[in-house]
Symmetry: C2
Subunit: 345 residues, 2 copies
């Protein structure tokens, strides 16, 4: 049973009005917002229909109507305006971020921070990962006799390092040997194959006593792969949620923030795919109590190596979906540009 065009217009008007005012919308307000010359009584009848169909709700008899989750869903899927993004915001986003290129972790949190600032919502950022990650390149850098820095580059171009104090001084030769051994035996193999036997094997081939260094390096590598493959999730601009009257109740606000600050919050997020590059999850669709009055919009971005990260926002169900989704899309796009073309700076 399809909705008449007028019903859709009325639903759209209700959502638009409610998003702006946060107050239940009455029939007169809808009339004021619509161009057509129908009376409020007509609108009332239509609204009663929409309520019966599940698109609107009434907080109490003598109040106006509020969109239901179903109403928002229809709005998001069919009705909402295209929103154009102000270029200055994009500029701001790009110029702030281009200062942080090269430090991937920081870039992600910084992107979250900007998104939060520019959308006025708390932002969620998830660091990019690939399904299978391995070490692509090892490097041992000697800082002083007993100190080295271990650097490794992963398959998806993430670079990590660790400073490492040894109990024995190392010669140049040993450093070179370690370098060769590490790159020969421990690159391009998956995490689970970084075993002790391999270390022994590598060591035999090296012809120098560098066990300590090798062990440290492999230890480091497995830490890194563990960390990298465990996607990190960042919540930025949490306090923004307090701007919205639906979260003025500190209990609700805390429940929301706590559940998103959790390291396992990832499982709560909708993940965009090729068919839906922007995922919108509304209220109870989130499937967990603290998020019942919240909506989440997520997009993805990817690094040059194809690792996929996520970027999104949380807000009240009464969220300006059009505006926020549009911005988010643009930001993700710009992030892709930054990550893929302009790698030097």
């Amino acid at each position: 049973m399809a909705l008449s065009d007028r019903k859709k217009q009325i639903l759209k008007a209700v959502v638009d009005d409610y998003v702006q005012t946060a107050e239940p919308v009455g029939s007169r307000a809808v009339v004021a917002r619509l161009k057509t010359n129908v009376s409020s009584a007509t609108v009332r009848n239509e609204m009663a229909d929409l309520e019966r169909m599940g698109y609107l709700e009434q907080p109490h008899t003598s109040a106006g109507r509020v969109p239901s989750h179903l109403g928002y869903r229809l709005y998001v899927d069919e009705l909402m305006n295209q929103y154009s993004v102000v270029p200055t915001e994009i500029d701001q986003f790009v110029s702030t971020l281009s200062l942080r290129m090269g430090e991937l972790d920081r870039l992600i949190t910084e992107a979250g921070r900007m998104v939060s600032e520019l959308t006025n919502h708390p932002a969620i950022a998830v660091s990019p990962t690939m399904e299978e990650e391995a070490v692509r390149r090892f490097e041992v850098i000697q800082v002083d006799a007993e100190t080295v820095v271990l650097v490794l580059v992963t398959t998806s171009d993430i670079i990590k390092n660790r400073i490492c104090h040894l109990t024995f001084p190392l010669s140049d030769l040993e450093v070179t040997a370690a370098n060769r051994a590490l790159n020969a035996h421990f690159t391009n193999i998956p995490l689970e194959d970084l075993t002790d036997e391999r270390i022994t094997a590598a060591e035999c081939g090296a012809g120098a006593d560098i066990t300590e260094l090798l062990v440290a390096a492999i230890d480091f590598a497995s830490d890194v792969l563990n960390t990298v493959m465990r996607r990190d999730i960042y919540l930025e601009g949490a306090s923004q949620i307090l701007k919205y009257p639906e979260f003025h109740d500190p209990g609700k606000a805390m429940a929301l923030l706590d559940c998103l600050s959790d390291r396992n919050a990832l499982s709560l997020l909708p993940v965009p795919d090729d068919k839906n590059p922007v995922q919108i999850r509304i209220g109870s669709e989130n499937g967990t109590a603290p998020l019942d009055n919240a909506s989440i919009i997520m997009t993805s971005f990817h690094t040059a190596r194809g690792a996929k990260g996520l970027l999104g926002v949380v807000g009240p169900t009464r969220m300006d979906y059009a505006k926020v989704a549009a911005r988010l899309c643009h930001f993700a796009e710009e992030l892709n540009h930054l990550l893929n073309h302009d790698t030097r700076r």
Copy 2:
């Protein structure tokens, strides 16, 4: 004019009670908390004195008393109990953090996260820096023909890296030359001396066309030094503030969080020194409106190279100073241990 011992005991009782209940404290509650057998009337007289002296305040005539900032100050300086920290908490702190050693940035935020969790307050963490920072060591690592990773270690052992795509392929020889040139000409000189003239000079000595690489490296170095010398400030567990009734008003909570999320929040923080390794700033002592009802406790930690970072918490003025300060001290101490002894893992 010094306070009598009994007055001090009464003040202490008021603070202790108020910290626990968040309700103005009446004379009877004080009597119940004191061991001495004085009547509530006596306590009332003393409390009236304490109010006249500025240590207590009365929200309204028919209510109990609340400590003033001055009262908290005296409490903190002279009266509060020594608090002993539960070892399990320290264990938790240490074991979580030891997983993150070697990534300094992450370590700091993670430390903040733990502090916030274990104290139930939002935590502030400031990344360590030295007054003067320079590059101690450069390394150019070739990933493929046109791609290198630049790694540098700063004076205070911070390690940063950047991946760098060049327009020309590089030979092994050129990489070695660049390495040598960078370490010969650009280590141990302060940020402001990383000038173009030096690049030209270095290049002449190198005997190979590696300008592009050198420029990129120096560019990177100055970025890093800029970033590193600009102390970064992290606010973790922001939502904790909502636990406290004094910040149930979303406006106040937001004002507080916004002012601390700001990148320039550093100037608002008390900085511990040798004489006061734990700085406590109470309410209006903070000198800015959004922090009038908040107190800040800060301690410092330092890296092996002596760079000093900060770790602290924010809370309502009605904060359990004894408990929080004690924990914070222990955490900072453990962080020092981790950073200075146990660098390998």
